[in-house]
Symmetry: C2
Subunit: 225 residues, 2 copies
DNA sequence: GCCCGAGGGATTGTATACAATGATACAAGA
DNA sequence: TCTTGTATCATTGTATACAATCCCTCGGGC
């Protein structure tokens, strides 16, 4: 299930692209703990490449905020604090509704169909308790929404945040019984978009975010402020 | 006036850091038109460095969305469309208010003092018609606000957007008589923060963004939707 | 014992050499 | 004329060599 949630504009098949994707994945999945120093040579050897592509990947990771590079010293993994997660959920609750509102006017038939299929399938996998599939479908539902909003800027932004909280989100789905409720909320958002009801779509998407956030706190996945 | 508006975590004094800052500046200032191809060697020669730091700078610029790298082909300057600007201002109007709200609780005395000095100085330079200084002070005012909000995530986000619309913003200040009005709005935001009035701070910062946006449209700097 | 500075090793920063890829021009054939 | 294949060149992708910097240790001096 480790495919890229957010595809990069960079070449997926260049060495640098592979290093970049791989490192990001590893960091988000918690392979490297916060504060760990990443050495160019070590990473390069592990992936079978020289320092050059590793260095370029580092620069990108730094800009994504996943590592911090101290000049002439080293690259250190930046952790995601509870505060970061809280902040992101608050921002998402403000922006996700906007995306849903805009999607009402910009969603294509293909996207609508994929969303319907997504909701339908999610119900199935939730009943069966297939956690991985639930996680993937949930990811994809939000991605479709982002892609359907008709704004490259907003899409990019929300995908970024989405990616960023991947780690904690995985825990959420695994540990909680939120699956069924989340599915219902997705379905309601989908209905609002289908009915071209922008106000409902925005409100529901908004609430969906807030509920997800509350759920994380209730399950002790992050500490409340 | 060409100092960095947004300082990078990277070394300002490394060759790569210099190439990065310089290129970003040049792109935002319109030295390179949309679609122009940037060649590693040419840029390197122009700045007196080899391809290595140039390449690393390219990777960063791509992630900032300022250039687009097509693998094995080249790096091309990405333009900012009117739609991008519109989208950004809408997002900013949603987020800038949040930053002001949070700043009420998190701003430090130093930041408050710098803001007061900023507002005071801005009045002076506006009366004198010093466009460059007005521009810098306006930039800085918003930066202080972002830094004062107490959220690295939101700060990073807003600085990104801020940076992104630099080009058009420079035109705005130069062409319009919005200076005095903008100063008044800054002052009102500052007052609200000083008085710990979060609701006012949010509303005023919000309106400030919307006014700036309207002003751009009224002056024909971007086309309305 | 404590401070300070020199030295050496490890790591990053930069330049350059080489490989791979893509663009272009031009010629042969239909 | 148009298409297509090929050779060549420009440019990017990667590896490696060298320079600069940092960190840590180990003595010397007090």
């Amino acid at each position: 299930m480790e495919e890229d949630v957010k595809e990069s504009a960079s070449d997926k098949y260049s060495l640098r692209g592979r290093v970049f994707s791989r490192l990001r994945e590893d960091i988000l999945n918690g392979k490297y703990d916060e504060g760990v120093e990443l050495r160019e040579i070590a990473i390069g050897e592990e992936l079978g490449v020289s320092r050059t592509p590793v260095r370029e990947a580092f620069r990108q990771l730094e800009l994504e905020g996943l590592i911090r590079i101290i000049p002439n010293k080293g690259a250190y993994v930046v952790g995601i604090s509870d505060k970061d997660v809280r902040d992101i959920y608050i921002l998402r609750s403000r922006l996700e509704g906007l995306a849903a509102r805009w999607a009402v006017d910009h969603i294509t038939n293909e996207q609508l169909e994929e969303m319907e299929e997504n909701v339908y399938l999610a119900k199935f996998h939730t009943e069966k308790g297939h956690l991985e599939q639930m996680f993937e479908l949930d990811n994809r539902f939000h991605e479709i929404l982002y892609e359907a909003c008709g704004s490259k800027i907003l899409e990019h932004q929300l995908k970024d945040y989405h990616q960023y909280v991947l780690r904690i989100r995985k825990k959420t789905l695994a540990s909680a019984k939120r699956g069924p409720q989340s599915n219902l909320e997705h379905e309601a958002i989908l209905e609002a978009i289908k009915n071209k009801n922008a106000d409902d779509a925005e409100r529901l998407a908004n609430e969906h975010m807030i509920n997800a956030y509350r759920n994380m706190i209730d399950n002790g996945l992050i500490k409340p402020d």
